[in-house]
Symmetry: C2
Subunit: 212 residues, 2 copies
């Protein structure tokens, strides 16, 4: 996908990972008393990286690029994700470092992944990433980038091992583009981005009928 790519990523092995050897993720058994007082258990996957300061794992950046002459757009990132053995389409996102606020993590990660300096417009409440499976949580940070008349895509500042392709999509075409990508071989859209776009599309197409 990305211009610096020289080959398609390929999985060479998948093995059971003992919990005691895992560095990033862990499995926990939660024992609890339910609403009726009955003892039950639940198996939970957790990140081991949550910074105590923020108490939140990650931020995703819902971003709007404003250009003097072009329609409002958003930048999505496409990258190979080993958990799915596929290229995912997502909004830029990243883990919150120790001592950072959600806003600070958003500005830093957005710069790293897209090269753009952004302004934070709003920060959502904490949301549960996948509540039946994991304790992972995140905040959606809406950001804006004001572009100049002749602005080119700036250079990214990626960590070693990050191969991330940026694609700028007009907001009005976002939903349609996500569906098109979903239909391509070895590509999958992240649920959070898809749901935001589906909500926009719902309001656009059904808003009048449903009194929105």
């Amino acid at each position: 996908m990305a211009s610096h790519k020289t080959q398609e990523p390929v999985i060479t092995s998948v093995t059971d990972l003992p919990t005691s050897e895992a560095k990033w993720v862990t499995l926990k058994k939660v024992s609890y008393l339910d609403q009726t007082g009955k003892a039950r258990t639940w198996e939970v996957a957790s990140r081991k990286t949550r910074a105590a300061s923020a108490g939140v794992d990650a931020v995703a950046m819902g971003n709007i690029l404003l250009h003097p002459a072009r329609p409002p757009a958003t930048v999505v990132v496409i990258q190979y994700r080993p958990p799915l053995d596929a290229y995912t389409v997502e909004w830029p996102a990243g883990l919150i470092d120790e001592g950072e606020t959600a806003e600070q993590a958003a500005v830093r990660e957005f710069k790293e992944e897209t090269g753009y300096a952004c302004e934070v417009v709003s920060v959502s409440p904490v949301q549960a990433a996948d509540p039946g499976l994991s304790s992972a949580n995140m905040q959606l940070v809406m950001v804006e980038v004001k572009l100049g008349e002749d602005e080119e895509l700036p250079a990214q500042r990626l960590d070693d091992g990050e191969h991330i392709q940026r694609v700028v999509v007009p907001l009005a075409e976002l939903y349609e583009r996500l569906v098109e990508w979903s239909n391509q071989e070895r590509m999958i859209v992240a649920a959070k981005l898809f749901h935001f776009a589906a909500g926009m599309e719902f309001a656009r197409t059904k808003g009048k009928e449903y009194g929105l």
Copy 2:
């Protein structure tokens, strides 16, 4: 929260769960060659329950309740989720059983959790639930329920151990209600539902400005 609840759920212990003992979730180490040919590894949490027939873990039901006299609404479910030790606000959702299609799972789970018979309006492409952490995937199934003039909430058909409160929210108030819930003690909104509502709200409030 729910009327049949007799006490607040309480966690009695959280212990490391060896991968070899987990029944529902597992940890895998994926070894792969990246775009430059370099050998890398990734730690992945996976569900052990994915039905081979569908190849997809779960469905969530984006639902619209249509009543002759009331504004279009949606039903959300609130339940205690041990991974977060909190009550989550979500759209009804569930795992796809072996031999089921996404549509069939949606109709079955929606009936179980809400009591309503629904009609499937659309089925989304497969989405990655939390692509940096897990292989979990899902489809958003939009469904409609046509209510009669005097219709009451029907009885749920819950599995043993499920304590699920249903709340009907007018679509036009959904975003605001999710934010209010997020601000309450021990409550968290699931990211997929929050993102859909945020996308609707974005289109409603910024649509004109951004040419949507």
